[in-house]
Symmetry: C3
Subunit: 364 residues, 3 copies
């Protein structure tokens, strides 16, 4: 164990070295605005990065994201009416086009170009709709991420979190909580002691890796048939996690089993992506998707397994949600001026992530 | 269409030219405190212009409005007991007279004159009780308004609004919202395009007028019998609205029908008054009364018509309430620093009204 | 009646002579943290003086009070697990000892001494658990109060109050409210006029005393048998109250009956203690205990009487709770800048108490 791991760093409220729940939200980033199926020809209100947005589809299916506040008298466009591709304000009938231009004002004959609402760049890719809340000239569609494993077989879910998004990113940067917070659901005893290795990166990602021999932490969530095949085999469990951007963190859990001759007899890959879209400074939209390279058939058995996984995942992430919300509430209600948070070895990646966020915030 | 109508005025948060929801409430003004029937020998608490008030009737029926907060230890007098014309505080038994004097302190033998609660000037006129929350020496009973048409046949109602009162005054200063906000209830299609004319006034009122030929906007709310009589006739619909004071706005809708010879065959007058009493900066007591010069008999038919009108009016004003509350909520929760409200032609009267309110606020 | 009694003192918001609901809470004082029976081997969260606390018993029964916020990532220890005498944080498994030391960090091999949570001094004495929230070096166990009459026969209860604790202390310093606030339950008519005498003390207590001849105010709450014995007798009712510390006020009500020869034929003593533990600046834990030197047998009659007393006490104190909360709410919501609270003769003790509190606050 390196001495570096043992360092205990103080983090007081005035310690400006790490991002915390007061750090301004990062705007120049693609965030998940919604699952594709959520956005239809119905106007849907959503708050993202402290901005009121209305989302809808045009007649050709293209997704539109407008400022939800009529530029005239602040009436919510999401309480208005869709007419073709335009939104007719429900108060005085002013009409807004998908690009934010005003195209009709009933009480006057012209529409000055200065009268407009913001239109936000959105990109639909696979099952996700992404939005860019930052400087429009920096929005590049090629930066929108893609997930090869995220197909119709993936298990997905959604929570609204009453906590700052960094509390969830921090949760994901230290999986030693598996043994405690998820002890009852995952039974990942001993996992907390397994040391993770942080990989050096020269960009703004934070990656880490664990290799666990003969006690694959997530073996218990494999289909029974695969669990049988692992019995008595030597295994290597490779678990890696990557904080890709303020908008999401991904993980892969790979289990390889070897027979007594050392030959590889089984390999399973489980993928996960956690999409964390700040709603406000202290609330978060949390979407997740889990994929895998097994149980992909249309058999009753596989379908039942995926349903089971879907429920289990929701159960586990509900524990993360509860932890995040308890911590948010504690931080807001405890008034002890002496309180200082302490870092432990397991926080190395979380600390690195918070440094990245602070750097990004300072750049904006 | 005059070029003036087309002007788009910017209103940013720092633009100090117009009153908005942050403008201090106007105190030197008679406001409706309650409908006459609401105030009885029961103590009734009400907050008006951010002041806690207790209202009740003396044994002779006269209405009293006292500060609701005992000057001794802040116990609410509205949770106390009426004894003759006085209020006995429910905590330590201190007794307050209708003029705010202290007339008994159980633990001592005298009542120093400095110990008193505020007593507010009130005037009961017809079905309304008015209150003066400003400088007492400026309260003149002769300024209390009167409405000849407001009698026992009038349709009345009340809403509590979770929005600043100016949002409702502004609503009334631009009836172009009829076609959109009330499209489903009034079906006033095309009304938004009808140009209103603002009348010059040399006082602090704002008046405007519309003349609509052959398509009377409110014809649909007349009794069926009258609607029959309008059929095939030439009509002129004269609609005028007046912001009289921060406390209320009135309107008259007159429909005149002419036969083919040009002779007047029918005239109907509908009156409305909207009483807007700020409860706090961002909540409002909204009372309304509607009168008319038809359907005034005691016949079953007329009574049923008035009941119908009563329900319809409430339904329409519920839409105004919803709009006001949505806008208030939007203004409070949207944090986009770039947002600027834009004025359109239809806002001419609303803008004039907000100038008057700002002027009055600056005078106080 | 002394002229002093008649003085009316002004108390405006800027008058800094008396403590009010804005005065910082007094920390160097023993407060009731809980009734003994409330604290078990279950972790129990409680907020005391604006600090989040977790309370539990060790295996030997000793009571522990720790900061409820894990020093690592602010997870509530009260949502964690007890293991022997230690608390295992439910998030990452860090283990805390009863003295606040960290004894295990799963992700590292050592526990730096700087990593700790606060442990608060607690003393269990009879049915009460006391806590010291101030400077630890000033906590002396010998200062924890004791009540000889507070045994298993005492009637006890608990309320959570949505008001600053001083509003309740003030309530207790002026029992003239008996005739009004409790008129319906105690029927203590005329009590408000009985003059109380404040006793001089040279410490930070405030004591006062009333002597009432032939109309014992609380006679109505004695067992019927004793009420019978009082009939036709001369009586002296000696009522004394003492504000002992910011944490509690005690009272004794003694009724002595004499026969026509002047011989003492009956004496009853009723004790009460009001424990007021600030939860936050504007909320309070209120515990009370009532004792007496009669109805102490195990007879059905005595047990039924004590049950009756228990219910009546709760009913009476619910009225005090309501008054405190109404006043708190009034003070927070009424915005009249002209408001000034007035003191009357009955406030002499309350004013003295508020002077003591202000002095203690200034000392801290």
């Amino acid at each position: 164990m390196s001495s570096e791991h043992e360092t205990v760093v103080e983090r007081g409220k005035s310690n400006g070295q790490l991002a915390d729940s007061k750090t301004p939200l990062i705007r120049n980033c693609w965030y998940v605005a919604a699952m594709a199926g959520e956005i239809t020809r119905e106007l849907r209100a959503r708050t993202i990065l402290d901005r009121k947005i209305v989302l809808y589809r045009k007649e050709d299916g293209g997704v539109v994201a407008l400022q939800d506040r009529c530029a005239h008298r602040s009436f919510p466009l999401s309480k208005s009416t869709l007419k073709g591709d335009n939104v007719v304000c429900g108060y005085h009938g002013i009409i807004w086009a998908p690009d934010g231009r005003c195209v009709r004002i009933p009480s006057q004959s012209t529409c000055p170009s200065v009268v407009r609402v913001k239109s936000y760049p959105v990109v639909e890719k696979g099952p996700l709709i992404w939005i860019w809340m930052g400087a429009p000239e920096k929005a590049r569609e090629k930066d929108v991420p893609e997930f090869s494993w995220f197909d119709s077989k993936a298990t997905v879910g959604h929570f609204h979190l009453k906590c700052n998004y960094l509390l969830m990113h921090e949760n994901l940067m230290d999986l030693s909580h598996f043994s405690y917070l998820h002890g009852s659901t995952l039974g990942a005893e001993g996992f907390a002691e397994e040391r993770a290795v942080m990989l050096n990166t020269d960009d703004d990602t934070v990656q880490y890796y664990r290799e666990i021999r003969d006690n694959p932490v997530l073996a218990g969530v494999l289909p029974m048939k695969l669990q049988e095949q692992l019995k008595g085999k030597k295994t290597v469990n490779r678990n890696s996690v990557c904080f890709v951007s303020p908008a999401f963190t991904t993980g892969v859990d790979k289990i390889t089993a070897y027979d007594s001759s050392g030959a590889e007899v089984l390999t399973t890959n489980m993928h996960i992506a956690h999409f964390l879209t700040p709603e406000t400074q202290n609330t978060t939209h949390y979407y997740w998707a889990g994929g895998r390279d097994f149980a992909q058939s249309d058999s009753k058995e596989d379908r039942e397994y995926l349903e089971l996984m879907s429920r289990l995942t929701e159960q586990v992430f509900a524990q993360d949600k509860e932890a995040g919300e308890l911590i948010q509430s504690m931080s807001e209600s405890d008034c002890d001026p002496d309180f200082v948070e302490r870092h432990v070895a397991g926080d190395k990646m979380g600390v690195a992530m918070r440094r990245v966020i602070l750097k990004l915030a300072n750049q904006e």
